[in-house]
């Protein structure tokens, strides 16, 4: 039935493979159907769906669509949801950044409590390349060095601004009324100056945004603290997440039924059921779908509420066409986030591989030893390097 519907008549059309009904998730008025991927070995008789790198390379399509200083939109086509989701999850939770972790308060007479201020400081995104730093290793007694810790100081005192006369009724003026992220002062240690300034001469580690208000002061109040920033990942605390959002959605697909065209006098109403620009109306009142604008469709399903359009159109999504939207919040330019995530993924794979290879070596060794030595204290079979 699906094949009788067409996405014909559109400028710069989708690749014809996008019309393969096996790739479609069907969207109905109150439910979705055909959600899961079925392309596994043994599912379709006589078809080969085993992993094939050459085939994958051929069908894979990655296209950057939009790029700004802070965000990127790109399409990843031809992968399973589990892969797309892995990259999304890694971008949010496992790409490391630097953030303030320890705050030593020498004086805080402001109205904001120490722990609340410390928390706010932790959330300030820092413009520091995390690749230049190591994690603080708990097993090495958490020793701090110039390679794993950045030190900042925050020392602000508020006083009344008595310079110049104040007109009657005019608001009072203060010096250092607002404590902002711009007040953080970097205290370099060891090799940090030479290592961090490599590339740009006038670079100094600090917040990406210098205008974040951290506290407000009144005359006589003072904040004096030392801050230690360390490397971490978003799964421990969101302050280490390099993104503001990293999400994907599936590419929408709208198929008109050629055997039941939309009546010309209802074309306007039909077009209003979709996002602006998606439906185009020809000179004779015939409707067509703009294939470029289709990706912007909100999938409101408004068209299903009108009886007169029953059977005119099918709403779908393309199961393996992921439209990512990633907003960077931190040191990485948005276009570097996916490569970073891929690198993290590969190092995770390498870690597991190493352990599995050790297990394999151990298992072979044990088979030679007539399968003895299985089972440790808790009854689990444990096989480590022989």
């Amino acid at each position: 039935m699906a094949s009788t519907f067409s996405a014909h008549a559109g400028p710069s059309s989708l690749p014809s493979s996008a019309l393969n009904p096996r790739r479609h998730v069907n969207v109905h008025a109150e439910h979705v159907s055909d959600v899961s991927n079925t392309e596994y070995p043994g599912h379709y008789p006589g078809e080969d769906h085993s992993w094939n790198l050459a085939k994958f390379e051929k069908s894979l399509r990655v296209e950057v669509q939009r790029l700004s200083q802070r965000s990127i939109e790109f399409d990843l086509v031809g992968v399973d949801a589990s892969i797309a989701n892995a990259f999304r999850r890694i971008m949010i939770a496992e790409v490391p950044t630097m953030a303030i972790e320890r705050v030593y308060v020498y004086n805080n007479t402001s109205v904001i409590h120490d722990e609340v201020l410390a928390h706010r400081l932790g959330l300030v995104p820092l413009d520091v390349n995390p690749r230049l730093f190591e994690f603080v290793h708990e097993d090495k007694e958490g020793k701090l060095t110039d390679r794993n810790t950045l030190v900042f100081s925050l020392d602000v005192t508020c006083e009344a601004d008595k310079s110049g006369p104040r007109e009657k009724g005019a608001p009072r003026r203060y010096i250092n009324e607002y404590v902002t992220s711009g007040d953080l002062i970097f205290r370099p240690a060891g090799e940090q100056v030479s290592v961090l300034s490599e590339g740009s001469a006038n670079y100094s580690p600090g917040p990406t945004n210098k205008n974040i208000v951290l506290a407000k002061l009144r005359p006589g109040q003072q904040i004096e603290m030392e801050l230690h920033a360390v490397k971490g990942v978003g799964k421990e605390h969101a302050k280490w997440s390099p993104v503001a959002t990293a999400s994907y959605r599936l590419h929408p697909l709208i198929l008109l039924n050629p055997s039941k065209p939309v009546p010309p006098h209802l074309a306007e109403k039909f077009a209003r059921c979709f996002s602006p620009g998606v439906v185009q109306i020809g000179s004779n009142g015939e409707v067509s779908i703009d294939q470029r604008a289709m990706r912007k469709e909100s999938m409101s399903r408004e068209v299903f509420r009108h009886k007169e359009f029953e059977g005119c159109v099918q709403l779908k999504r393309i199961r393996d066409w992921f439209i990512y939207t990633v907003e960077s919040e931190g040191p990485h330019p948005p276009q570097e986030l996916l490569p970073e995530a891929i690198q993290v993924m590969r190092s995770k794979i390498a870690d597991i591989r190493r352990a599995a290879e050790a297990l394999l070596a151990g298992a072979d060794g044990e088979q030679e030893g007539a399968g003895q030595g299985q089972g440790d204290g808790d009854g689990d079979v444990s096989m480590r390097d022989a």
Binding site: P41, V64, I83, R346, I349, A356, M383
Partner: protein
Amino acid sequence: MAEATPKIKILKGAEPDLSAATYQIYDESHTIGNALRWMLMKNPKVEFCGYSVPHPSENHIHMRIQMYDNLSSLTALLTALSDLDDLCVTIDEAYNKSLREGKYERWDEKS
């Protein structure tokens, strides 16, 4: 703590030839679990593969693999890992190619 948790442990009940086994993978989550499960299911010699996160406050996942023809699930796991790595490389290359070609809209985002 006596010793560090092993990255992979084979849980009790595995077949001696490892044709069916459950692997406990430490410090991993849905991220690797689901991706690896998919890659294992792409192997025609895998009869069954599934993963679970047994408890949200335990930092590990379980990966169950059952093989046809008494093949080793550990070998299948290693194959899946290297295939998954190839997939990552392919995506990375395709992404960088698209970025280099520069056929995308650039816009100025105020913040």
